[in-house]
């Protein structure tokens, strides 16, 4: 099959499913819930903290809520990608689709493009929400463009990870559990690692058991940070706040490589496992 046909096929699939995403209530409800949660859990607490202390300092004030909002939205899109592939395989429509001018590559490209287009909608709403909230509270946000670009690459990595897992698994439930479970593990791992490290900065003396756990996490982190898409974002946002353009571009490049590798593996998985139920 020629590449032109593949692209056309992928474009048609992506447009059709993107239209379906736009006309469904799911993405809107999820975004509202995420933004509301961030307002309640982050912005409100920061305002209360400033009011209580009078003067405080916050490192990268805009980045943390943006990371939570975009991370959760990307997770939702990753789940959608995993569900749609597994469901089509479950229902047998995938097999029917492959009798037409669709092959593994065009199918994976179509799915990926559709979710990335949906992320465009997420970005528009996120920018509106964060602009208004940061302006009315005067909390402000810096490096917006850098964060937006970084978010596109983070989402791209998460979506391709979701597509890979659903290509590897035949059951929808398994792919969802696996996708959410692994992302939850990565998030919990990163949180625990950063938390135990922050305790030392606060001067908290840890017992030998916790020092051992911290050591274990720190050493394991060297492996996890190459698997977890969240780590790519964290590295990029750290580079952004340090003004380190080289590291920032490197994090974008590594996210792009992550995406390409995950999508290539997905295509391979489709070819290997077939598209039948």
């Amino acid at each position: 099959m020629s590449m032109a046909i593949r692209f056309r096929s992928a474009r048609i699939q992506a447009k059709r499913e993107f239209r379906s995403t736009l006309t469904g209530p799911g993405i809107y409800v999820v975004l509202s819930l995420i933004f509301f949660g961030v307002s309640l859990g982050y912005f409100r607490n920061r305002l209360l903290e400033v009011a209580e202390q009078g003067v405080i300092n916050i490192l990268n004030p805009g980045q943390t809520p943006w990371f939570y909002a975009i991370g959760l939205a990307a997770l939702y899109l990753g789940v959608c990608a995993a569900i749609s592939i597994s469901r089509e395989r479950d229902m047998g429509t995938l097999e029917v689709l492959f009798y037409g001018p669709v092959d593994s590559l065009s199918y994976v490209m179509g799915k990926y493009a559709q979710q990335m287009m949906a992320f465009g909608v997420v970005l528009v709403f996120a920018l509106i929400n964060f602009y208004v909230v940061n302006t009315v509270t005067n909390l402000g946000m810096s490096n917006v463009l850098g964060l937006v670009v970084l978010s596109i690459f983070l989402t791209s990595a998460i979506i391709s990870f979701g597509i890979l897992l659903s290509a590897l698994t035949k059951r929808m439930t398994v792919s969802i559990i696996l996708f959410l479970g692994l992302n939850l593990f990565f998030f919990a791992f990163t949180t625990a690692h950063l938390f135990l490290q922050s305790l030392s900065a606060m001067g908290v003396e840890l017992s030998p058991v916790f020092v051992f756990i911290r050591s274990l996490l720190d050493n394991t982190n060297f492996i996890v940070e190459w698997i977890s898409p969240l780590s790519y974002f964290l590295r990029g946002s750290r580079a952004l706040s340090m003004g380190d353009t080289g590291q920032y571009l490197l994090s974008l490049l590594s996210s792009a490589i992550y995406t390409v590798v995950a999508l290539a593996l997905s295509v391979g998985a489709f070819n290997w496992k077939g598209v039948r139920r």
Partner: protein, 471 residues
């Protein structure tokens, strides 16, 4: 499929866990030493077993204050030091024991402290980088009230100590004379008082002798000169060893030396809000934003800072605590290096324009009268009776700001008008009126409202049963 996945996860865990364990805080030898010590401690209870060891006593550079130093005992094969700084080191024989309460190795310096004579050779592979001889040094406190100290080497250090010693001797002589004069003064006053009581006639104020002026001790302090190897190297991995006068390596003195440098340089501010002047905190990173509620008065004291790997920094300062810094290899932290010189001004900018220049000044905190807690912060003036014979409570740049919208920027500029790198910070005031909270909670509903509209429109466009055109 699930079985295959479980097998894959198991395989990853089998790879990950041993890798992580292989890099656990203690090497097998250290583990064995640890167990041995624990066994011995169990038998000797509160009196730990001491072992004579050849150790390196290290006083690493630790910023504008003098650190307490550390020791590299025999089972620690790597010493960490900061690059391009004055680090002091000595090889000594002493009794070493492990103190479980604070989980650290300790040296019994008071009972055994034998200097190992020789030179310190520093190598990189087979190449000898330097062979150091002991140098004289002193710790010099320019002003004891600040607690800031520096290491002064060689003749200059000896000169400072001699000057300080002479100044102290002079001070004791003047003090002695002062106390004698004061005793004399009291006896004169007693005589005048007796005369007043007997005659019932007041003595004119100008006839009462003035009390002698109390001498002021030297403001600085200099420790007596001592000797040590001064290790000041560029970043890199080295090996060190002591060599005797015949050029032979002294057994047990070979160790690895990791000299590390900062990732970033910057300016930290000690921030003292006027409302909580004793509860000050620091802002280190230029990416940090200062937030105020309404109009706030606060004081900033700038420091030069450097960002180091936390593991390497902790190991350089606390090598005697084996667990200290473990698990922090991927963590970075700021270390104060020096107090910024006084001829630096703080500028406040609004939309890129300088709107205020704040000078560096001393301040004095006066407790308010009465039982209730309270204080007033005055600009220090030694002629003011409230502050007579008292020192300033702190120094800093006073900022009195309110940011109704947008933000201010602060930065430090030197005498030539150059901005100090890393000194810029953004300052914002938050808004907290009920309208802000309402907007904060309502704006997230925009996607939901749009979703409902899209859903209703789609339902309307959907053909109803019986309305489809006949085929």
């Amino acid at each position: 499929m699930v079985k295959r996945l479980a097998a894959a996860i198991l395989a990853v865990m089998l790879f990950v866990v041993p890798t992580a364990l292989a890099q656990s805080p203690l090497t097998p030898d250290e583990m064995a030493a640890w167990d041995e010590e624990r066994f011995e401690q169990l038998s000797s209870q509160g009196d730990p077993v001491k072992e004579e060891q050849l150790v390196y006593s290290v006083t690493p550079w630790s910023g504008p204050t003098i650190g307490r130093g550390t020791i590299a005992v025999k089972n620690q094969d790597t010493i960490y030091l900061m690059a391009n700084r004055t680090n002091l080191m000595n090889a000594r024989i002493t009794d070493v024991y492990y103190w479980p309460i604070t989980k650290e190795y300790m040296a019994n310096w008071n009972e055994k402290n034998i200097t190992v004579e020789g030179s310190l050779r520093i190598r990189q592979g087979n190449e000898i980088v330097a062979t150091l001889e002991p140098e004289t040094y002193v710790y010099y406190y320019r002003d004891t009230s600040s607690g800031l100290a520096e290491v002064v080497l060689g003749e200059e250090g000896v000169r400072l100590y001699e000057e300080y010693d002479a100044a102290m001797n002079e001070y004791w002589d003047i003090s002695r004379a002062y106390y004698e004069a004061q005793m004399e003064h009291y006896s004169v006053l007693d005589a005048i008082l007796r005369q007043v009581q007997e005659t019932n006639e007041y003595v004119a104020e100008d006839e009462v002798p003035k009390s002698p002026r109390q001498p002021v001790p030297p403001s600085g302090y200099v420790y007596a000169p001592r000797t040590a190897f001064v290790v000041n190297l560029p970043a890199g991995r080295y090996q060190i060893e002591m060599v005797d006068p015949d050029g032979e390596v002294i057994p047990g003195t070979t160790k690895n030396l990791i000299v590390f440098e900062p990732r970033r340089l910057g300016v930290a501010y000690e921030v003292r809000p006027e409302a909580t002047w004793t509860k000050y905190w620091y802002t280190h990173d230029p990416a940090e934003v200062l937030y105020l509620e309404g109009r706030r008065v606060f004081y900033l004291l700038p420091y030069g800072t450097e960002e180091y790997n936390v593991y390497q920094y902790n190991k350089s300062q606390n090598l005697h605590q084996p667990l200290y810094g473990e698990g922090l290899k991927s963590s970075w932290g700021w270390v104060p290096t020096n107090v910024i010189e006084l001829d630096v001004k703080l500028q406040v900018l609004r939309d890129g324009e300088v709107v205020q220049e704040v000078p560096f000044k001393p301040y004095y905190v006066q407790q308010t009268a009465g039982f209730a807690l309270g204080y007033i912060i005055h600009e220090y003036d030694q002629d003011n009776p409230i502050m007579y014979n008292r020192s300033p409570s702190f120094y800093g740049y006073k900022l009195d700001l309110e940011v109704p919208s947008g933000s201010y920027e602060i930065r430090l500029v030197d005498a030539e008008g150059n901005v100090l790198p890393g000194s810029a910070r953004e300052i914002r005031s938050i808004r907290r009126d009920p309208g802000v909270y309402r907007t904060m909670y309502l704006v997230p509903l925009i996607p939901f409202v749009l979703g409902v509209a899209v859903y209703i429109r789609r339902r309307r466009l959907r053909p109803r049963a019986g309305t489809l055109p006949a085929a």
